[in-house]
Subunit: 466 residues, 3 copies
């Protein structure tokens, strides 16, 4: 299984040659990771990672959803039960189960990420199987015990120049403070993610809302609530944040008159809002956040379109983020009108749009981003953060939006060891795309080199204001 040196590059020799030349110049560029889900505590406390199963299987919904789809119980994979029920705790048993079902991952990006980590981090070139499961477990476990495998050391080894975490609006960011105070020079930035105090459909919303305004010392009114957001955003900015992130069921935005918005807030706060009002509140808040971005310069990320917790049994037993979030059709063109009318023509604002509905790229997102100064297209996300997904994105978006209305790559991961693998994949796929443009005469090679550099490094720094 040793990694193919030309993996993901074009098969045709001339195009492959061009792609090799492009990739050679971006392969070792520093990693800019402006959107992800690693734990700030890792960088603050620099602990060792636990056993191989806890690292590669238990927390990775790409891995355990595939096993679950083929009949493996989540309990057997050590996925914690929300109700405290018993689950497998023996890392080796979990690892063996993963190894036995390893062929399920053929053709998936999980396979490519995993094998890149195996080889690049652990020097393992054997394909995982029933036969070698124990041996590989031992090798990885042994390696994990070394100091060189701690987050700060890996961050340096991975050449991660800057990495953003994702943090709740009410988070005190103590780990971020600790990192700064430690004198370590790694650049770890928080991201303002206010969903828990913006989305009335989240469990525990009422309590979160009350705590949020109280934390900021603001009254429980619409104006107090907005002031609390402003205060918390400032708190995040003081700690290095350059962006906010918003995971909404839809891309709907609204721009109500202040009095109307205040009435809506009161109903939401009182738990009296119906389903339409709750959606309207989320919609209103996207526009409010966009206006605050205009004022304070935080880049705004919108991640819409997931129907969360589709499987009631899995949700009840295991809670959120267990592989049962399923995309649905997502409208942007009508949904974004109010927000765009408010800030869309302002080149000082940056709103980055993501999608789980690929049909929107050609039909709505590229035309929108190819017109509005405030809009940029985020990289392919979640199910589409994959070789084919990234290729389709470039093929469908570039002709209308070009490259500079896109923002480079997001690894979007909590799997620390896979960060280099994911950036490696994105750089290869982009170089392959550029090489094809050069090979069939659509782009000159010097331009392709410059563009490859932008896609791998420059655009992320620029778009996220890093």
């Amino acid at each position: 299984m040793a990694l193919h040196p030309d993996r993901l590059l074009p098969i045709e020799p001339e195009a492959r040659g061009i792609a090799r030349r492009l990739f050679a110049e971006v392969e070792t560029l520093p990693i800019v990771s402006p959107h992800g889900h690693t734990e700030p505590a890792w960088y603050a406390e620099n602990p060792r990672f636990p056993d191989p199963a806890a690292l590669f299987v238990v927390p990775d919904h790409y891995i355990f959803r595939m096993l679950y789809s083929q009949g493996v119980p989540l309990e057997a994979l050590g996925v914690p039960r929300a109700d405290g029920g018993a689950v497998e705790t023996d890392g080796r048993a979990i690892w063996r189960l993963f190894a036995r079902h390893y062929p399920l991952f053929r053709g998936t990006p999980s396979r490519l990420w995993f094998e890149h980590s195996m080889q690049a981090v652990f020097g393992i070139e054997d394909r995982l199987s029933d036969a070698n499961a124990d041996a590989l477990y031992d090798r990885i476990a042994e390696a994990l015990a070394s100091d060189a495998m701690r987050p700060r050391e890996l961050m340096e080894r991975f050449r991660i120049e800057v990495i953003a975490t994702t943090d709740a609006a009410s988070d005190d960011l103590r780990h971020h403070d600790a990192i700064r105070q430690s004198g370590w020079n790694g650049r770890i930035l928080p991201t303002y993610r206010p969903d828990a105090v913006v989305d009335p459909d989240r469990p525990g919303f009422a309590q979160a809302l009350a705590g949020f305004t109280a934390l900021a010392g603001e009254p429980d009114t619409w104006e107090g609530y907005l002031a609390a957001h402003r205060a918390r955003r400032a708190y995040f900015r003081e700690r290095g944040a350059t962006a906010t992130d918003h995971g909404h069921p839809s891309a709907r935005t609204a721009d109500l008159a202040p009095a109307e918005a205040a009435r809506l807030f009161d109903r939401v706060r009182a738990g009296a809002a119906d389903v339409g009002e709750r959606e309207l509140f989320r919609a209103q808040m996207l526009t409010e956040m966009a206006r605050m971005s205009r004022d304070d310069g935080l880049v705004m990320q919108i991640h819409p379109g997931s129907r969360r917790n589709h499987n009631p049994l899995v949700f009840e037993r295991f809670g959120f983020d267990k592989g049962a979030d399923i995309p649905g059709p997502t409208d942007y063109v009508e949904a974004l009108r109010p927000l765009l009318a408010a800030v869309g023509n302002d080149p000082g604002v940056t709103v980055i749009l993501f999608t789980l509905d690929e049909t929107a790229y050609g039909r709505e997102l590229a035309p929108l981003a190819g017109h509005y100064p405030a809009l940029r297209l985020g990289p392919p996300w979640w199910f589409f953060d994959s070789p084919e997904g990234m290729r389709r994105f470039r093929e469908v978006a570039t002709e209308t939006a070009g490259f500079r209305n896109t923002v480079g790559f997001n690894d979007d991961t909590r799997a620390f060891l896979s960060i280099p693998a994911r950036h490696d994949m994105a750089r290869r796929v982009d170089c392959a795309y550029l090489a094809r443009l050069v090979a069939d005469g659509r782009l000159d090679e010097d331009e392709a080199h410059e563009t490859a550099h932008e896609l791998a490094y420059g655009l992320a720094k620029q778009a996220y204001r890093l």
Copy 2:
């Protein structure tokens, strides 16, 4: 026109070489045909096939819809009128018309299937044209007169290990009984297709429903109706059925309380149900069928999304299945919630989903199948049972659902002679896809060999429990 030995394989020499090696090992595997529309009477009575036009043109809606789209009247192609109006009956005249318009099929799978049959079955390597229409007609007609061209002989020659027919719920399966009693060892299985007694919008529904419960000796009540389904499914299972098939306008499912379902049934039975109630009844019945599948082990196939009989003039004159069934957008993620809540987490249930809306593969179907243990993705269907359609399916579904959440190939045809052509096409396209994964380092060649075998043979047997 002699068939290109490397047809549908990658053009690039290295990838073509890999694909050749993969294809060489699956080309002659037995055919497993778990979903199709051949006539059970053919296997029971083993008749000769009639003339070339009656074999290749008159019954093939892929062929006559294309000719119709270019102004050829269906009457001139011998398509029977529902109202008994006169149509062309001279096979040679029909064949000549087909030959004259043969260039219309450039770039279509019909062309590839037809030419594969010509060469593989009749040894004809000349491209059909005005000039050779009569000569080819004579050669085919002569061949059809031989005993070797009868269904049982062809089934053996085609290496069809097992083939399923599609049969109405009230069918007595006499041909299937006759086949067993004949001592012939061909494996022909019925499939339970209850649409005529499930869909209140079908012409003749009331009568079909009354006959259905009467046949099972059950009362005309909701409980009697469900019992009749159970009885008929058992009858089918005794005759070898392993699957059911459901062709619905949408994928909507429902799970009403029993009393509510009973009231709905009464309104439907009385012809009093409005359009929403008729849709709800179909939705409820998908969930009921899924529960019965959990109990009796029949694999459930759902084929949603066709707007049937779009052309009122063609429907009035020629009836069903005349090329005027047009797909529309199809929602799965919300539609399937009730059914999945009922059986989706049960690895003992298999529900195979098909689509005519390709956008659903990446956005909804692959994420659903990559999570729910009970779900599998059927192969590309109807308009997408084609080289590009099958390629897009693999490219968009594999990264999220892998290979083992798919179920191999369905030829889905009533054109007996095209069965090997269709499986040949599917095997080539899958090998081409796998070869590209190997060539750009995403898969090892030994894995590709194993996977090619599964896609061509193993998965169909396993998924359909054959």
Copy 3:
């Protein structure tokens, strides 16, 4: 930057060789341009084109929307303000701004069109940049001063056999008359575009409507209105028109009883129609236009799906067609039922459908065009008139609709100098597609040659009845 001789052809050498042979036979075929937006006055008066910026930047919404999306004010690009506000008038300053941002167009068709014009028309092989902006401006400006650069001379040089303009229903076509009377033998045809008197949501509709019936000497009634259309269509046909064009927000059609349609007209005329009635009126008029096409033989083009003037600030300041028209999901299968029930089975009628929602090609448009005798698929339009857009169109539409249910290429442009560039691109992409079919055994090369000729020349003449 000298144009790559094999640009847009397949990269793989064997397929490239086939594509070269195909392209060699269609490269210099005359241009048939049945749908576009050049000015009839150009052909009547044969003026010189103004300066480079006025030719390439100011009127081209592909160009200025991209610059605007990256923060360049439209005023600085010389785009006229609707409110008469000041904008840049120095062509050289505008050109320099374009040159400075030229890298934005990497990977876009605008880049390819522009460079083709530079080289083919002006002999310029240098890539535009900050450094050479002035020098290139001077070279182009100098060339534009020569008689050889006037419309009639360029039309001959470009081998444009026939070109259609797009003209309002009330236009007196004086330029078309002048062209005929001039004795010049260029073939310039008008196209009947009645949107201004069909779409109640257009600004100035009431006045346009009154003027329209008055022009035809008809009363302000439903019958008078229809008679006015018939009269104006006849007026256009006398001046060579072979087609009509309809740009509607949706593809919705209706077929009301005459009395109902008359009542609807009265409400629309009185300005009393609500949003649903205005949509219904447009829908009804598509069917009326289709019936008139059946009677007078004009080919009908339907261009639905654009959400016009999405950006209120840009619309208020700059008016229509400023790059802020964004597509949205477009239904065809239900929307077209009434029109198709009225004329869809008539092979004497030709209705050409366009889309901005690519998902409709495979799911709805190819199945519809592959069945209804009256339907044809227009070429990829607007955002999809691009190498990848045209490739996807062939890959997704051909397997169901074949080639002859398509109608060749439309350049659809007001950028006269880009006409050869656009046809060159379409011919190359089609030859590339055909070459791949030949290379992997789906088509014989002699058929590919015949088909390439049809796609480049024959189908447009035939479908548009030229």
